[in-house]
Each structure stands twice: as structure tokens, then as C-alpha cells.
Symmetry: C2
Subunit: 184 residues, 2 copies
DNA sequence: TATTGTTATACTCTATAACTATA
DNA sequence: TATAGTTATAGAGTATAACAATA
């Protein structure tokens, strides 16, 4: 089937997905990731830029999901909400490209947010194939609160750094990930 | 079933998994992730430490997998090989804790490396329940070549940075991800 | 009773490919 | 012919829970 906007058939909404079972406190991998256990020789891993970033990313992801659990908001969902809020009328294809995921993934991500009443598909004024993605009123209110929680989380993870250090970190990370791929 | 080490029944070896279909050049998400498209308003995302790290991590992961495709080595596989090489006799439970994954995941990861003839289970001298994990002769040779390729990759992604900047980056990332979780 | 390795199962995420409607 | 959105399917990766052997 294709775009069912103008038919009476209700769209199949997807259930809001669980935030991330990887972080359940229950049993096995339940604890917190410790990036540097004592009595362990990490070898070359300790000298690699890539591993240092991976370590940080795991910890940040954990804290993000914990901090936003009450809203069922994960990092990709927050990114999508921000992009939609700041770029009104983006299409699903745009969203996919911006987030670096496949179009089908963008549809699933958006469907989850739609089931949470945070976003809606509006008709594109220029292309009858496409939708203009938008936040609902609820979505705008929720995003305001969520953004505050995300900024709190981000401040918490950066608390060990001075503001000057944090700016330096952002600048160096930006240089690390330029627009064009690195030369092979 | 439990530990079948001393029986004649052959263990079920797992096929080496494909490196990561997410990076296929074929169709949809096939291109390279561009962390900062023009004409897109990223809003608060541009100010978040967490998003900057996520951007960098995606790009680094892509380049890692591309660089190591010939060996079928992914970041988790490389980490596991390094840990086993530098900490002879670690058990599967140790490996899981070090890498921050569940024990069942460590088994699957190790099984994949075993199917590639890079590692082997040796009897633990002190605990008949456990194995002492070790590299095979092939594993040691392969790891030497793979480590060189990984270091080349890491140098490439850090090429935009001076060595002083790279050291600063590592130091700041280390401060960001300390041993203990951040205070809620 | 607790721990080690193992297996079964489930779920998330992501991709590829085919399809409909429209450009 | 190409593009937008959708769906189906498949795969990797991770988790939880139960189990046998051993501590």
C-alpha cells in the first residue's frame, strides 16, 4: 500500500517502544558500564581515539535513557523531535538523511512518536506524495520539558569539565567528524 | 546443557557474522553519514556534548568497519581480541564485565571469533566450571596485522588534529567517563 | 546456595527490496 | 523514469531467564 492519507482506512499506529531493555536493572548486564576496570590491561585500546569515544558514548547513552525514562524518549527520538521542531515541513526522506538512517527507519521512528501523540503528518503543500512533518501542541509542550531534562543530563555528564574545557571538547570533536569522509 | 568440554560431542560453532549490514553501499542508507548538513537547523543538538560525541562515534564506527572489512573484524571483536591477548586466562564472565555486555553476549562474541579460528577455550587450572580464554597462533598473527590496520584507521580519523590536540581530546573524554556513574 | 557457561527466547534497531501513488 | 512513503523481511546485537555442572 502507499500513502493512505485520503482514505478512511485508519493508519496502523505503532506502539511506543520500550526505551531500551539493555538498561534493565534486573539481572545480568544490569549494572553500570565501567569503562576502566582495575587489574585489566586494555592494551592499545587505551591509546585509541575511537575507543575513548566509544567508552564515553556508552556511558552517556545510559545516563540519557535513565534521565528521560519518564518520557520514553531515547536519543534518536529526541533528535527527531528537535529536527522536526526546528525545520517545520521536513519530509520523512529529509529526516532519514539528516539522522543518517534508512527511510524505513525514519517511518518507524516517526510512527512511534505519532503513537505518543507528539507529532503528526500534514499534507505537503507542494508534493502530494510527501508529508510535511510537524509537532502537535502536545509535542511542543512535551519537547520543552524534555529539552530541559536533556540539557540537565548534558550538564551532568559534563560536570567534571570547566566550560572552557567543554568548548574545547566540542571543537575537537567537530574537527574529528568533518562533513566529508576521511581519505582511505 | 552445560559445559561439554570433556565430552566427545563437538561444540556447535557459530558462523562468522557479517560485519554490519548497516553499512552496505547498496541502496538506501548506503551513503556516508553527514553530521552537519547545510540548510538544516539542528537547534539545541549543536550545543550538546552528547550529540557531538554521537556524531563522531557514528563516523568512526563507519570508517572502522570499512577499514577492517577484509578481516571481518568489528569494534567489539577487536576489543575482545585485545582483552584476551593482554589478559591471558580471562573467563567469559570477566570478558562480559570488561566489555559491558551480558554473559550470553560474550559467549556469542567468542563463538564467532572461535569459528574464525582466532581464539580457543582452554581448561581453567583452578575452576572446572570455567575456561581460560586464549588466542590461537593464527589469532596472534591476525591480531598483529589487525592492530596495525586499526591504528592506521585511528590515525586517519585523528588526522585533522595535532598530537597535542589529540592528547587533550583523550584527556577530556576520560574526565567525561569516570569510573563511577554521574550523580542523579 | 552461588557461580560459570550455555541455550532459548524476545525485542530493538537497522537495512534491503518490492510496492503504490505521484512527480 | 525517478522519487516519497510504506511494508515485509532479514540480520546483528542485546537482554532476560532457565538450566547443568561445579564451587
Amino acid at each position: 500500500m502507499a500513502v493512505t492519507r485520503n482514505t478512511s482506512k485508519a493508519r496502523k499506529t505503532r506502539e511506543p517502544l520500550a526505551p531500551d531493555p539493555a538498561l534493565g536493572e534486573g539481572g545480568d548486564g544490569g549494572g553500570h558500564f565501567n569503562p576502566h576496570l582495575p587489574d585489566v590491561d586494555y592494551g592499545v585500546l587505551d591509546t585509541l581515539t575511537g575507543y575513548a569515544i566509544r567508552r564515553a558514548q556508552i556511558r552517556i547513552y545510559e545516563d540519557f535513557v535513565r534521565s528521560l525514562a519518564a518520557w520514553q524518549i531515547t536519543p534518536p527520538r529526541f533528535s527527531a523531535l528537535q529536527i522536526i521542531a526546528r525545520n517545520p515541513g521536513v519530509r520523512l526522506t529529509d529526516l532519514a538523511r539528516i539522522l543518517g538512517i534508512a527511510r524505513s527507519g525514519a517511518v518507524m521512528l516517526f510512527d512511534a512518536l505519532e503513537a505518543m501523540q507528539l507529532v503528526a503528518r500534514e499534507p505537503s503543500p507542494t508534493d502530494r506524495r510527501a508529508y510535511a512533518l510537524a509537532l502537535t501542541a502536545t509535542g511542543r509542550q512535551t519537547l520543552a520539558a524534555v529539552t530541559e531534562a536533556v540539557c540537565d543530563h548534558d550538564a551532568r555528564i559534563g560536570a567534571q569539565l570547566s566550560e572552557a574545557e567543554r568548548q574545547t571538547l566540542l571543537r575537537l570533536l567537530d574537527k574529528l567528524a568533518p562533513g566529508e569522509p576521511w581519505q582511505s
